[in-house]
Symmetry: C2
Subunit: 190 residues, 2 copies
Amino acid sequence: MKPRDENKINEIYKATLNLVKASGLAGITMQMVAKEAGIATGTLYIYFKNKEALINALFDVCIRSSASTFFSNYDPAQPFKIGFHTIWLNIVHRRVTHFNESIFIEQCFHSPFIDEESKVRLRKIFEPLLHLIERGKKEHLIKDIDTTWLLSLMVGAINEIAKRTMYYHIKLTSEILEANFQLCWDGIKA
Amino acid sequence: MKPRDENKINEIYKATLNLVKASGLAGITMQMVAKEAGIATGTLYIYFKNKEALINALFDVCIRSSASTFFSNYDPAQPFKIGFHTIWLNIVHRRVTHFNESIFIEQCFHSPFIDEESKVRLRKIFEPLLHLIERGKKEHLIKDIDTTWLLSLMVGAINEIAKRTMYYHIKLTSEILEANFQLCWDGIKA
DNA sequence: AAGTTAAATGAATAATTATTCAGTTAAAAG
DNA sequence: CTTTTAACTGAATAATTATTCATTTAACTT
């Protein structure tokens, strides 16, 4: 028998992400995805039951691989600011290097494909960060206001940094990164 | 002759915004829009040439009405921080009270409907804010880094505040608003 | 090397959705 | 009150897009 070319799934994912970045979830068709992935339309349906299944599987993959990068090199035993800086940098890096993934996740959040359960799963991947913020409050290093607002500043700013970086083709030097981290830090620090 | 019910256009816009908030640009059909607006499908085509025209017209309306609120009560003659606070509050207020509009604009930005020209027009509405930021830098009140990053923190955080407020059904008291403004201000201040 | 099995193809079909249009209604003009 | 005109309707049609399937291809097994 002929084995599946497992790499084909990655090609399909890559194609989908690129197309969604270019023209949104509303702008993709299965034919476009197949063509972009360099396969026949019918082949898509060997790997995915239907369009919804493709989008959901990709959403899941995006969440999982994002999560794995957000906390790499993060050691809860280190001082708060070190840990916070590590995670901040990781998220910025991911958002910029996987910009089409960021757009895809954003689009999925308001789409007919993704159910409430998946949205909850997306929120869950930020939990370690949530705990770190709580710790920072206990150590009186950051402001004692509801964690959701501290996260708003951090995550919201990061999303916007990624968008501007990509839209305006900016090269993120470490000077720029540190300046942006400083903005965030000055905002949340006690 | 029978005159056009000009209010119908608003119903169509409202219907579109509500549907897009619920299931994204990818999730709407002209039939759904018509039904939600309480009119026949054919009637839609009296007011809009086609789907693309509807989306584009609505995008334009959203941009224009947003712009008009962002700078209401803003007087460039006032001290920097007062002006900045006014605009900050205006944008937060607009994003929350017109949340479906915010989602619509976000979705349009990566869609097959909106052209580059409209995107530029969207960026233009922030220009008075851009000038205010430049002024703040000249007066040494805020950090001397590229305006785009100062805006990232402000606008990014605001977008995230609006999302969390709506997703978690939070009531924005003036205490919460002021605490959030403080986060932003501490971030950008010199 | 022949046989077997599943992947791969892409044109055909099914399903969905955009758009039209013949008929109906309602407001305004005369 | 009648006529006129354009809005309005929603079923019919056109266009697009998802999905299937008969056929071909390629890899593995014996």
